[in-house]
């Protein structure tokens, strides 16, 4: 670890902070209830666009888990998401019409909100289609986890993205508001992930799963990253460098053990592959606001048109976190 390298990363972190600071002007407050945030609250941070149908289940899921307050950025929704969120007592909402892409896919906005409101809190950054699970999440609220992480002196917690998909064509069954998306998309790949280590940021780069298998089998390097570090005991000098895949300072990315042991980790169940994807793919392609020219969404649109079935006979049906633990997708580590 050279001094120059460390210094370069430090400058980069400062640059990201300046970006976040400048992008604050793009956010217009709709409902600011941040005064209600309690000292010990776990805070959720989300950017979204046209996710109205998902929101009720999303909010309920995290409320049940023990999240105290939601800080959300609505990027120009036209489906009533904004109004719905503004009416929730535990949501603070900002809105923006600015470019998602130029806010580094929303990272700058959330970095700013976390800087402002996250300091000293455990913060959870999740998309509306990501559902956080962690060891014992069926019996222990999120405060048990964060309390334990505090006791161990850990500042960040890894939760890899696990793409969930239905059996049969993706749009065969329609998702209803308030429904558990994993009633439809209940399958996942259990052992089809490949990992390398980022030599600069020290995070693991995980790819694979159904998206690599079906949509990116010919160009694996373009397959989406699945490594995520969504739960962090935030300090205002921290920044997310790229989505929630990696953070600066880079010590926060050391969520894995490299001596053969297992650190505790969770997963983000990804409810992307529902019938809602068809409309989303069309819209996002038209907007061109997504990563790498919307390459991903083009693949999805073509896949939907061909009635692609992500399911194979080796797919696993999701039961609970213990199953993911046994399959080796997440780990209890030394939390018992």
């Amino acid at each position: 670890m050279s001094v120059i390298e460390s210094y370069r990363l430090r400058l980069r972190r400062k640059r990201y902070r300046i970006r976040a600071f400048r992008k604050r002007r793009e956010l217009t407050v709709v409902a600011d209830r941040t005064r209600a945030i309690g000292e010990e609250d776990v805070l959720a941070f989300t950017t979204l666009r046209n996710e109205r149908v998902r929101l009720p289940y999303f909010l309920d899921y995290y409320r049940r888990q023990g999240v105290g307050h939601f800080l959300m950025v609505d990027n120009g929704s036209t489906d009533g998401s904004s109004q719905f969120l503004a009416d929730q007592a535990d949501v603070s909402l900002w809105t923006t019409q600015a470019s998602y892409k130029r806010a580094r896919y929303g990272v700058d906005w959330l970095n700013w909100l976390q800087w402002q409101h996250g300091h000293g809190h455990w913060t959870l950054v999740v998309d509306p289609d990501e559902f956080f699970i962690y060891p014992f999440c069926d019996t222990r609220p999120i405060q048990a986890l964060t309390g334990w992480l505090d006791t161990c002196g850990l500042r960040s917690f890894s939760a890899m993205l696990v793409d969930m998909y239905p059996k049969g064509p993706i749009d065969a069954e329609a998702y209803r508001e308030g429904q558990d998306p994993f009633e439809i998309a209940s399958w996942f790949d259990s052992g089809n992930y490949f990992i390398s280590r980022n030599p600069l940021y020290h995070n693991l780069w995980i790819q694979g799963g159904p998206r690599a298998r079906v949509f990116f089998a010919d160009q694996p390097s373009a397959a989406p990253s699945l490594n995520k570090i969504p739960l962090v005991k935030w300090r205002r000098e921290y920044v997310y460098a790229q989505s929630t895949h990696m953070l600066l300072p880079r010590g926060l990315n050391r969520v894995y053990d490299d001596h053969g042991g297992e650190k505790t980790s969770g997963a983000l169940l990804h409810a992307k592959f529902l019938n809602t994807l068809a409309g989303k793919a069309e819209e996002e392609l038209a907007r061109g606001e997504h990563y790498a020219g919307g390459r991903e969404y083009r693949a999805y649109r073509d896949g939907m048109a061909n009635r692609t079935d992500l399911w194979t006979k080796w797919s696993e049906r999701y039961i609970n976190w213990r199953q993911l633990e046994i399959l080796g997708l997440m780990s209890k580590g030394n939390w018992a």
Binding site: S158, A159, E262, S331
Partner: protein, 566 residues
């Protein structure tokens, strides 16, 4: 005959109050010491909540109880003195913390202690015998001085330790004192406690222990050896520590486990564990079964957790376990076999092997076109696809994924110089790999292809170069795999013996003699073929010394000749 509780509290005061009320309400005196770090207003509220209860007393002035320092012992001594003075009926004093939770009804504890009126329950082991202290300090806890706080003055703490070590500083122990260590949570009899507090040399001991590292784990543990009548060296409090020396926390889902442990008190309890508090904080004898304390099951649970954290699951690569090479335990999840040249030399070798060994036998997993899974599957266990591009993107992950997803079943696969050579080093360094190579056997395929000689020669030269490099890697001094290498000529001299040797290793217990031999491919004219290559200037030396006119015995494909070995 009664037991009194000393309660040391610093956080979660409402829970501490709840427990204190329970004990006091069951007729047990409780003396509470609250950390001075608890703000005045919160302490006042806490005291007000317990006011009016004749069985509860508060220690004042309060001491600052920083972890690992004398304050905790000082608080315990103050509370003990207050307990002995205020409650003359108390025969046993039980030291507990605010995050302790009684698991069994008070009458059961009282009865248990009444049967053992002269016994002191305190874990107390000499430092020569135990290694439970985490973090290295054993003897040095006593021979060095620790004036700085570990948590808040870490830099000074470390530097002062290094300095003392460098200067060889050592201080002597008070005469007659044998240092003992043990859990902080004890239950002592009145006579023992009175003797410890009334010891004429108490001042000397205190001065000594003030600069001992974590005195709460050694002060009473050492002194009890000077005064006690009968020491039962174990704690009645169930308290487990993880590998960093932090106490494990109990949550609602541990309820059944705690019930079955039959310990009297457990710590530490997560303050929000409502179900634990509501279910266990009771004097109903139904909640436990009145047995001798037996924390074995909980021990196993926590031992397993620490094992998971420190050693992990061999062969698993995932988001929170990514061992650097050579620091892992097990590069892959289980044993597997790699066969090189066998499928060229034998006809239908794969189906023969699978029938003989019962293992899963794949074709060339690293073939250029795709991964040839057993049975021609397009996707394999764990949804591993056969795409060559995905596989070659991270060839070692492909192999570790396969062995992880098929754990419990031995995988065999074919390999050769035409395949992606990237995993060679990984397999060579993997003790789980069994690699058997017949060098030059790939030439049989060229020989059968009947292509133009120019084309064949170029291809042969290319493959030979690759195979040579491969074999060189296999012979590396750091190789850990079980590796066998024959030239084609060598192998063909006694093929059954060599096969038997390999298969004995694959299924050592089911070691049967081979009754059915795989069928050798037709090699008529192969010697001539090699000679012709040589004549054209291409010496295929990896095949070994294969004379031009040599056509091995079972070469006629139609004779169906089989080696039968008894």
């Amino acid at each position: 005959m009664s037991v009194g509780f000393i309660l040391l509290v610093h956080t979660a005061l409402d829970r501490a109050a709840q427990v204190a009320r329970h004990w006091a309400g069951s007729g047990c005196p409780v003396v509470i010491h609250a950390d001075r770090n608890v703000p005045e207003e919160r302490f006042d509220a806490f005291r007000a909540a317990l006011a009016g209860n004749p069985n509860i007393r508060f220690v004042e002035p309060r001491r600052r109880c920083e972890w690992g320092t004398w304050g905790i012992v000082g608080a315990t001594i103050d509370a003990s003195a207050l307990m002995l003075k205020s409650f003359p009926q108390v025969d046993h004093v039980y030291l507990a913390s605010g995050s302790c939770l009684p698991l069994r009804p008070v009458p059961e504890l009282r009865a248990y202690l009444a049967e053992r009126p002269r016994t002191d329950f305190i874990e107390s082991a000499t430092i020569d015998d135990v290694d439970w202290s985490k973090g290295g300090f054993d003897h040095e806890r006593f021979t060095l001085r620790f004036p700085f706080a570990f948590k808040t003055q870490r830099g000074l703490f470390d530097r002062f330790v290094t300095l003392q070590r460098g200067l060889g500083m050592k201080r002597s122990l008070p005469a007659g004192l044998v240092p003992h260590l043990g859990s902080q949570w004890w239950c002592l009899t009145r006579p023992t406690l009175e003797a410890i507090l009334g010891d004429p040399r108490r001042g000397e001991y205190e001065r000594f222990f003030r600069s001992v590292w974590i005195p709460d784990e050694s002060y009473f543990q050492s002194l009890v050896r000077l005064h006690a009548n009968r020491v039962e060296s174990r704690s009645l409090t169930l308290s487990k520590f993880d590998f960093q020396g932090k106490p494990h926390t109990f949550y609602d889902d541990h309820l059944q486990l705690l019930r079955r442990s039959d310990c009297f008190v457990a710590r530490k309890i997560w303050p929000q564990a409502d179900r634990l508090y509501s279910s266990l904080l009771s004097n109903d004898p139904q909640i436990t079964k009145n047995a001798e304390p037996n924390p074995g099951k909980i021990d196993r649970l926590f031992t397993h957790a620490v094992e998971r954290r420190l050693r992990g699951r061999p062969g698993l690569y995932m988001q929170s376990r990514f061992p650097l090479s050579d620091r892992d335990n097990g590069k892959s999840c289980g044993p597997y076999s790699v066969f090189e040249g066998f499928s060229d030399l034998f006809e239908q070798f794969e189906s023969w092997l699978s029938k003989t060994t019962g293992c899963r036998v794949h074709g060339h997993l690293y073939a250029p076109d795709r991964a040839h899974f057993a049975g021609g599957e397009k996707v394999y266990n764990g949804c591993l696809p056969d795409s060559a591009a995905l596989r070659d993107y991270n060839p070692c992950a492909f192999l570790t994924n396969l062995t992880w997803s098929t754990r419990g079943e031995r995988q065999c696969f074919m390999f050769g110089p035409a395949d992606n050579q990237y995993p060679t080093d990984f397999m060579t360094g993997d003790p789980h790999a069994q690699i058997s190579v017949i060098t030059g056997a790939w030439a049989i395929r060229l020989f059968r292809r009947k292509a133009t000689s120019e084309e064949v020669r170029k291809e042969a030269a290319r493959l030979q170069r690759i195979e040579q490099a491969h074999v060189e890697r296999l012979r590396a001094h750091w190789a850990k795999a079980r590796i066998r290498i024959w030239t084609l000529a060598e192998f063909i001299e006694a093929p059954m013996d060599h096969l038997q040797e390999i298969l004995d290793e694959v299924s050592p217990r089911g070691a049967r003699r081979l009754t059915e031999a795989p069928r050798l491919t037709d090699l008529t004219g192969f010697g001539r073929f090699l000679q012709e290559l040589k004549n054209e200037g291409m010496n295929l030396h990896v095949a070994g010394d294969f004379p031009a006119g040599f056509d091995p015995a079972p070469l006629q494909p139609d004779t169906q000749r089989r080696y039968v070995v008894k």
